[in-house]
Amino acid sequence: MSKLQPLQSVKQFFMNPVIDKEYRLRMRTSRSMWTLLAYLIAMGLFSGVIFSIVGIDMRNSIYSSGFTGIAFIVLSFAQLGLIAFMSPGLTAGVISSEREKQTLNLLLTTQQTSFTIIVSKLIASISFMLLIVFSTLPLYGIVFLYGGISPGQLLSVFAFFIFNMLVFGAFGVLFSTIFKRTMIAVIVTYGVVLFMFVGTGIIYLLFSFGYNSYGFSGNNPANDSWILHFLAINPGFALYSVLDGGDWYMSLARSSRASKTFFDHVPFWLEYVIFYTAILVLAIYGAIRNLRPVSRKKQGV
C-alpha cells in the first residue's frame, strides 16, 4: 500500500484540474489542429528533400548507411529547430494570457498551489509539443527502412528533444510570470532561445578566433580548451554530441591544464543536460515565486 502511495500522488498530480482544463482548452481550438498540420507539412517537406537526396545515392548503394546517418542527423536538427521555434510560442503565454484574459486572479484565489499551477501549465504545453513531435515518428520510420540507425539512437535523440522542450518551456513560463504582456514574454523567450543557439556559438567563435589569430591568452593552445564549454551549452552542438557520440570532449580531457574540472571529463551532451537542468530548476522556481506576490513573504504556496 505504502509503495503505491507515491504512484498515486503522481497520478493525482497528473489528473489535477489545471492540467485537465489546459488539455481541454488546447485541444478544442482549431489552432492546435492547424499547428500540428503546419508542423507535419514542414517536417514532411524537409524529409522529402533529405530522402530524395538519399534516394539518389541509393541507386548506387542500397545500404549506404552513411547517407541514412546524415539524413537522420539533418532530420533531427530540423526537429530541434522547430521545437525551439514552437516552444516559446506555446509556453510564453500560459500565465500572461490568463492575466490578459482576466482569469488569473480567479485561479490564484483557489486552493491550487503556485507549484501546481506552474508545473501543470508547463506539462500541458510540453504534452502538446510531445504530441506534435511524436506525430513525426513515421518520418523517422523511413530512416529505419534504409538502415544504419539504431532504436537506441532514436530514443536518445527523442529524450534530448523532450529535455529541450522542458528547458525552452521553463523559460517561456518564467517570462510569462514576469511580463504582463504575452507578446513581450514571447519575444524575450525567443531572444533567450536564440542566444542559446547563436549567442553561445558566437561567443565560442569570438574566443577561439581571438585565441587562434592573436595568441589570445599567450598560453599553450591546450590550456584554452575551456572555450569548448561554450559549445557544450549550445543546443545544436549538444545534439551533435548525442548523435555522434562525439569525442570532442576528449580534447578537454586531454588538455594540459593543471586544474581540470568535472566537466572536462564528461560528454558535451551530459554537460549540456547538467547545466540546463540547473537553469530549468531555477526558471521554474522563479516562475513559482513570481506567480503570487503574497506568498513571497511567508509561505510560498
Binding site: P17, L106, K297
Partner: protein
Amino acid sequence: MTDNMIEISGLTKTFGTFQALKGIDMIIPKGSVFGFVGPNGAGKSTTMSIIATLMLPTEGTVKVDGLDVTEHPHEVRKKIGYMPDFFGVYDQLKTEEYLHFYGGSYGIPRKEREQLIPQLLELVNLSDKKDAYVDSLSRGMKQRLCLARCLVHDPELLILDEPASGLDPRARIEMREILKELKSMGKTIIISSHILPELAEMVDEIGVIEHGNMIAVGNINLIQQQLMAKRQLTIKTSGRQEELKQFLLDQPLVHGVFIDGAKLEVQFSGQDAEQAALLKHILLADYEVISYQEQQTDLEDIFLAITKGGGAEQ
C-alpha cells in the same frame, strides 16, 4: 475562532509614490452584509484584492476569521469566494465544466461536484445553460456563473467587487435577489459598488472610502440617523404658504423654510416625535395640509453627505 469575519487595522498600500490606501481600519462581523461605497479609484478594489490574498499590504494587518492574509493565505483562500470587478472566462469550456474546474481547484472530489454543481446552477438560474459554452453566455449570465463559481467551495465570506456593473436592470434585479438569498444563508458578504441604490436594500453596514481614506464606517441605520439629525420635510398646502412659512419659522427645531409653489421645504432637526408634534401644531393652527412628508435619505444621500469635502486631500 472569532465573532468578526474581517479585521483590518492600519491598512496601507502604496504603488510607487501613489498611496492607494491610507491606514484603513474596519471590522466586519460574521453574517453581515457590508457595503463598500466609494467613487472609482477610491481604494475599494485594492482593499478587496488584499483581503483575497492577491496583493500584499504595504503596512497594516488584514485578518479573515482570525487568520492573517499574509501569513496564512492558503487557509484564507478556503474561506473566501472572490468575484473581481472585471473577470474573464475560459471560452472553450462549457458552463458545467467551468464549475467542475473551479470545484476541482478547491479540492472538491468529483462525486461531490456532480451533486453540487446542478444545485449551484439552479441557485443562479443557469440550469438550462449547463451544456452551453461559457463564451456564448450573456454578460448577466457570466456574472451569475462567476457568483456560482465563488460559492463552489461553500465559503464563509464572499468578496464581490462591483457584481452588478455592466448589467441591464433586469439582470441587476436577478443578481440582487441571489445576493439576498445568500444573505439569508448566513454568508458574510462584502460588496462594493458605486451604484448606491442597488446596495441600500441588502447591506447591514457600510464603509465609505474616498482617496484611500475610510471616512465613515458602521451600521447603515446609525449613519442614516446621524445624518437625519437634519431632516428635510416637504409640506403641501392648499394656500397661505407665506403665512405658514412665518408660523414654521417661529417653531423650535425649524432652521429654514423655502417656498416652492404649493410646497414648503422645511429644514428640521427633530426626531420622529418632534416631527409628529410639528404636524399637530400646523393642523391646530388651521392650515389645510394636503401632504406632509419627510424626504427619504437613501444611500446616495449618505454618500454625498459624507464625502462632501471629507477625505478629499491627496
